[in-house]
């Protein structure tokens, strides 16, 4: 007598879908934070007539310790222009914004060469500041 083989059904339990999605999301959030500069310490200066900054792929930050960061990664002024050029490669004029976040007490000897490097790389400077409070 031939006994028929019983086929076992191997399915991923659908109950775990939520947990899988949750863990995937956490993974991508952590990955995104590595390129983020929200963990850096700086105080924005104040100015009038502000406008909403458009989305930018380049963010340059000088923190309270006068350290320079490009997209959250520490960098030297000498490499800045080249790296920005690479990031903005192919972007047409008018679509090359570079967000500049400078600590309000940073000195000209530190931020002016940075501004010059961004300008040299063809970046359009957007100084991230706060609206003047009365």
């Amino acid at each position: 007598m031939k006994i028929s083989r019983r086929s076992a059904r191997a399915e991923v339990p659908s109950m775990a879908m939520g947990d899988i999605a949750f863990n995937l999301l956490i993974f991508f959030v952590i990955l995104a934070r590595a390129q983020d500069d929200s963990h850096l310490q700086w105080t924005p200066a104040e100015a009038k007539n502000l406008q909403n900054a458009s989305n930018s792929v380049v963010s340059v930050l000088i923190d309270a310790d006068s350290k320079l960061y490009l997209n959250g990664q520490q960098i030297g002024v000498a490499q800045l222009a080249g790296r920005i050029e690479g990031l903005l490669e192919g972007a047409p004029p008018g679509e090359r914004p570079v967000l500049v976040k400078v600590h309000n007490e940073a000195l000209a000897q530190r931020f002016e060469p940075v501004i010059e490097a961004i300008s040299e790389a063809g970046g359009e400077l957007v100084h991230i500041v706060e609206e003047v409070r009365d």
């Binding site: 879908m17 999301l25 502000l50 406008q51 002016e112 300008s119 957007v126 991230i128």
Partner: protein, 141 residues
């Protein structure tokens, strides 16, 4: 005799949905956090020029910045009067080339002072050009 009602209604959400609820909550807070755009000031700086090119800029307005003060064409101007002064000077200029304002900062000028002055120049219709001290490498034999 009174018979007790035996119907039990499910009042708790199924625990299997906790993961989905957490997921939706995280998405909600992520979206909330990402919709706040940064606000700032757009600044157009002309391309760098060499020292020879500066010969033609003798007619341009020159603004010098120190740690706390501002000098317009070598004359100290109190900060509250700076906007009026720069507006009146730029009003006399007609061509875009003449509206170029040369900004020269001392090394100890803080950023809040610099952005205050440069944004005032921008609002007055001036075009900012930074004059930086060039670094020269001297090789000692």
């Amino acid at each position: 005799m009174r018979i007790a009602r035996t119907t039990k209604l499910l009042v708790e959400p199924p625990s299997s949905a906790t993961g989905d609820i957490a997921f939706n909550l995280i998405v909600f807070f992520l979206v909330c956090a990402s919709v706040q755009p940064d606000r700032g000031r757009l600044q157009n700086l002309p391309a760098s020029e060499t020292a020879e090119d500066q010969q033609q800029q003798t007619e341009n307005i020159e603004v010098q910045l120190t740690r706390t003060a501002v000098l317009v064409n070598g004359e100290a101007v109190p900060m509250p009067r700076f906007a009026t002064r720069i507006k009146s000077l730029l009003a006399a200029k007609t061509s875009p080339a003449e509206k170029v304002v040369i900004v020269k900062s001392r090394p100890d000028t803080p950023y809040h002072h610099w952005i205050d002055v440069t944004s005032t120049i921008d609002d007055a219709g001036g075009t900012i050009t930074l004059q930086l001290e060039e670094e020269r490498e001297i090789v000692v034999p």
